[in-house]
C-alpha cells in the first residue's frame, strides 16, 4: 500500500467510507450522535485519517463536516431513516417528466 494511504495505522478517507458513514449514521442513532459531535474523532476510531501525505486533507474534512452538520441540524431522532425515505419518494411523486433546464 502507498505510504500516504496509511498514517500511524490509519488509512485515508475514501468515497466508499463516506457512503458507509452516511448509511450507518442514518440507522444507528448512537453512532450518529457520536459522529455529529466529533466527526473527525469518530472516523479516527474507525481507522480513517483526515490526512494525506502528512497534510490535512481539506477536501475530505469539508465533506465530512458538511455531512455531520446536516445530520445534526435537526433533532431527527429515530425517524431519520424514514425521513430520508420519504424525502426520496417525494421526488418520485413530484416528477412530471418534463426536463426544465432554463432555470432552477
Amino acid at each position: 500500500m502507498a505510504d500516504d494511504e496509511h498514517t500511524h495505522g490509519h488509512r485515508q478517507l475514501k468515497l466508499d467510507d463516506v457512503q458507509m458513514i452516511i448509511g450507518r449514521a442514518v440507522v444507528d442513532e448512537h453512532f450518529r450522535t457520536q459522529f455529529t459531535g466529533d466527526p473527525i474523532g469518530t472516523l479516527k476510531t474507525l481507522g480513517i485519517s483526515m490526512t494525506v501525505g502528512g497534510e490535512r486533507d481539506e477536501k475530505a474534512v469539508t465533506l465530512v463536516k458538511t455531512i455531520a452538520d446536516a445530520l445534526s441540524e435537526e433533532n431527527h431522532g429515530a425517524n431519520l431513516a424514514d425521513l430520508l425515505k420519504n424525502l426520496r419518494k417525494s421526488y418520485l411523486d413530484s416528477a412530471d417528466g418534463i426536463i426544465r433546464s432554463r432555470c432552477a
Binding site: G23, T66, E74, R88, L92, I99, R100, S101, R102
Partner: protein, 642 residues
C-alpha cells in the same frame, strides 16, 4: 424510398439521465424515418435499465429537475470518461451539491449518487455487451441535457466489444461547436450530427447501407468531413415529417417492473420548431434553438391528425415540446382540439402576454399547463431580457390562468446586467399581495447559455463568462479546454456580482409565497351588481371579508383585465365624480386589491365563481377527468402504426 438492407440494422440509443415518463421525440421521428426506408431500426432507452439497476426511486430522485444545475447525472458517469483523484469528487459533493440542495438533501444525494456511481461501470459494460451481441450495423446515440458522460462511456464500451460498429452522435449537446468538440476529443465517436437530423440521418443510412463506410452528408461531421463544409439542412416542411413511433418506449416502460404503479407515461408531440419571438428579439439569456431559430409550424390539419393518432394509441395527455405556441393556432388548431371529442390535456410553452380570449381558448383546447416564461415581475428587468412583456402583463397571466384553471410553470431568475437592485425590494413588497396566484418553482441566478446573446456578445452587456461551476468536476483534467464543452455559463459584472446579497429580500418573499400559497385565497365571493364582497386570506391569517362600496366595485369590475386608469376614471366619473374615483383607486391600491404599472390597473381578486386561488396540477387534472364528456376508451397500444 427503399434502400439496400443493412445487416444488424440501425440502433438508436438514449442513455441516462433522461425522463422515464416520456419518449424521446427526436429518436422516435428518426426511427420512423429509417423504417420508412425499409431498414430495421430499434430504440434502446437505457435509462430504464439504469433505473432497474439502482432502483426507480433513486433514479427519480437523482434526475429530479431541482438538482439539474448540479449536473448530477453527468457526474455519476464522469469517472468512466475522465479519471480523477477522489479528492475532486469529495470537493464536488461538498462544494457543488449544497448550492442546489438543502443540507439533508445533500446527505441523501451523496449516499444515493455514490451508490449509483458504483453501479455505473457494470451497467455501461452490460448494456454495451448486449448491444454488441446484436451485431449492429450503425448505432446512433442521442445526447441532450445530462447525457454526455453516459453516452461517451457507452460508446467507449461498445467500441471495445464491437470495434467495427460505426457510432454516430446527435442531439442538442452536439449542436455546432459542441458536436465538433466531442468528435475531436473522443475516438469512440465516428461522426456527429449537428442540428436537425431528419434529412441527414436517412441520407447517411442510405449511403451506409449501400456500402459507403463513412458517407459525406450535409449536417453530419466526420473526421474526413469538417462541419463547415457540410452545413445541415433545417426542415421547413414540418407537415412532411413522419408521425413519431413510440412503441419502443412504451414497450420498455411496460417491461419495467412496478413502474406502471409509480409513473404515468406521457407521449410527446411537436407542432412547431424554432421560436417566432426569438427570431425577432432574441431573449438575452436563451440558448435554445441553437442555430435553428427560424420558426416553422405544422398546418392545423396535420397537427390535429398527429394529436388524434397518438391519443388513440398512447392516451390523450401530451407534453408539447415546442418552444412557443404558434399564435395563428388560436384561430385554427385550438378550436379544432376543443371541438374534438378526445379529452386532450397538455403542457405547452407560450409567450406571457396573453389576453383573456387566449387563455379561454387554451383551457378549452385542453392546454391546462403552460410555461409562459414569466421570469420576473419587474418591467425594467423584462426589458433588459427583451421579453416583450411588462410586469403587469405577467401578473395578469398568472391571474387569468388561475381563474381558468391553467397551471403556470415558471421560475424567478435574477442577476441581469443593467438591473436596478432596488427593483427586488419593490418586488418583495409586491409578492406579498400575490400569494393566491401561482408562485415560481424556484429563485435562481440567470445563466448565459451557449448560443444566447449573452454568450455570443458578452462585451455588449459588459459581462464576463465562465463555464458553470459543476463543469470542472465533470470534464476533469481538460483544463483550458473546458469552454469547448460547456453549455451553461456563469456571468460576472460589477453591477451583478452582489446579486445574491441585494436579492435576499426577494428570495425570502418567494419562499414565503411558496409556503403560503396552499392556504392563500383572494377572490370575489359575491357580486350583486351594486356591491361586491371579497374574501382574502393572502397574509396567512384568517380569511377576511371585505365589502366594497359601489364605486370600488365598479372599479374592480373594470379592471378584471388590465385597463388604463384614464379609461376607468372616464367610465366611473359620471356616476361618482373624478375626485372620488381617484381616491377610490388610491384606496384599492393601498389595500392590495389593485396593482398598477405606469398608467395601467389590474384587479387582483379572482373572478366570482372561479377557483379561489391558483389551483394545483392535481386539482386541474381531477377537474378535467371529471368533466371529460366522451368515453374514448383506453388507449390501444401496439396498434398498427399508420
Amino acid at each position: 424510398m427503399k434502400v439496400p438492407s443493412m445487416p444488424g440494422g440501425v440502433h438508436l440509443v438514449s442513455l441516462p439521465f433522461t425522463s422515464l415518463q416520456s419518449p424521446n421525440l427526436g429518436l422516435s421521428l428518426l426511427a420512423a424515418g429509417v423504417r420508412q426506408q425499409g431498414i430495421a431500426c430499434e430504440i434502446h432507452y437505457l435509462a430504464f435499465d439504469f433505473a432497474e439497476t439502482i432502483g426507480v426511486e433513486s433514479y427519480a430522485f437523482l434526475s429530479h429537475e431541482k438538482f439539474y444545475q448540479a449536473f448530477l447525472g453527468e457526474w455519476i458517469f464522469s469517472a468512466l470518461v475522465y479519471e480523477r483523484p477522489e479528492a475532486l469528487d469529495m470537493e464536488y459533493l461538498a462544494e457543488v451539491v449544497p448550492d442546489f440542495a438543502t443540507p439533508l438533501e445533500t446527505v441523501l444525494i451523496t449516499h444515493v449518487a455514490l451508490a449509483a456511481r458504483k453501479a455505473a461501470a457494470g451497467f455501461i459494460d452490460r448494456c454495451a455487451k448486449n448491444l454488441a451481441a446484436r451485431q449492429p450495423g450503425l448505432v446512433g446515440i442521442t445526447t441532450s441535457f445530462q447525457q454526455n458522460m453516459a453516452s461517451i462511456a457507452f460508446a467507449n464500451a461498445l467500441k471495445r466489444h464491437s470495434p467495427e460498429t460505426t457510432i454516430l452522435f446527435g442531439g442538442a449537446n452536439c449542436e455546432a461547436e459542441l458536436g465538433t468538440a466531442l468528435l475531436q476529443s473522443f475516438d469512440c465517436i465516428d461522426a456527429v450530427c449537428s442540428g436537425e437530423g431528419d434529412t441527414a440521418l436517412p441520407a447517411f443510412v442510405e449511403a451506409f447501407a449501400a456500402g459507403d463506410a463513412m458517407p459525406e452528408v450535409p449536417g453530419i461531421t466526420t473526421r474526413n468531413c469538417p462541419s463547415d463544409k457540410q452545413p445541415g439542412r433545417m426542415i421547413t416542411a414540418l407537415d412532411n415529417l413522419p408521425i413519431p413511433d413510440f412503441s419502443d418506449f412504451y414497450s420498455r416502460f411496460d417491461r419495467t417492473s412496478g413502474l406502471k404503479d409509480l409513473l404515468q407515461p406521457t407521449p410527446t408531440i411537436e407542432t412547431s420548431r424554432g421560436c417566432w419571438w426569438g427570431a425577432k428579439h432574441h431573449c438575452t439569456f436563451c440558448g435554445l434553438n441553437g442555430n435553428a431559430m427560424t420558426y416553422r409550424s405544422k398546418s392545423p390539419d396535420r397537427a390535429l391528425k398527429e394529436f388524434r393518432t397518438q391519443a388513440r394509441i398512447y392516451g390523450s395527455d401530451f407534453i408539447v415540446v415546442d418552444n412557443i405556441l404558434d399564435y395563428a393556432y388560436f384561430d385554427s388548431l385550438l378550436p379544432m382540439l376543443r371541438d374534438d371529442p378526445t379529452p386532450f390535456l397538455m403542457h405547452f410553452e407560450v409567450k406571457s402576454n396573453l389576453f383573456p380570449k387566449h387563455i379561454q381558448a387554451m383551457a378549452a383546447a385542453g392546454i391546462r399547463k403552460i410555461q409562459p416564461g414569466i421570469e420576473t415581475l419587474d418591467s425594467h428587468i423584462l426589458k433588459l431580457m427583451k421579453k416583450g412583456v411588462n410586469a403587469l402583463q405577467n401578473i395578469q397571466t398568472l391571474k387569468l390562468c388561475a381563474e381558468a384553471g391553467i397551471f403556470v410553470d415558471w421560475g424567478f431568475i435574477f442577476g441581469f446586467p443593467g438591473e436596478d437592485p432596488s427593483s427586488y425590494d419593490r418586488m418583495a413588497d409586491l409578492m406579498s399581495r400575490l400569494h393566491h396566484l401561482q408562485p415560481p418553482a424556484a429563485f435562481a441566478p440567470v445563466r448565459a447559455d451557449r448560443f444566447s446573446p449573452y454568450f455570443t456578445r458578452p462585451h455588449e452587456f459588459g459581462i464576463q463568462l465562465k463555464p458553470a461551476k459543476p463543469y470542472r468536476f465533470i470534464y476533469a483534467g481538460v483544463g483550458d479546454e473546458l469552454g469547448r464543452f460547456s453549455y451553461h455559463h456563469e456571468m460576472s459584472a460589477p453591477d451583478i456580482d452582489r446579486a445574491q446579497i441585494y436579492t435576499r429580500r426577494a428570495r425570502d418573499a418567494v419562499q414565503h409565497w411558496i409556503t403560503r400559497h396552499s392556504d392563500a385565497r383572494f377572490y370575489i365571493a359575491d357580486d350583486t351588481g351594486e356591491t361586491m364582497i371579497l374574501h382574502d386570506s393572502r397574509d396567512g391569517g384568517e380569511e377576511t371579508r371585505t365589502q366594497l362600496s359601489r364605486l370600488e366595485a365598479d372599479i374592480v369590475r373594470l379592471c378584471a383585465c388590465m385597463n388604463s386608469e384614464d379609461r376607468v376614471r372616464v367610465a366611473v366619473a359620471p356616476r361618482h365624480g373624478m375626485k372620488q374615483c381617484a381616491k377610490a383607486i388610491d384606496r384599492l391600491l393601498e389595500r392590495g386589491i389593485l396593482a398598477k404599472e405606469n398608467k395601467s390597473l389590474l384587479a387582483l381578486p379572482l373572478a366570482f365563481g372561479t377557483f379561489g386561488k391558483a389551483p394545483t396540477w392535481a386539482e386541474i387534472r381531477s377537474e378535467v377527468l371529471h368533466q371529460s364528456h366522451h368515453e374514448t376508451g383506453p388507449p390501444v397500444r401496439g396498434e398498427a402504426f399508420s
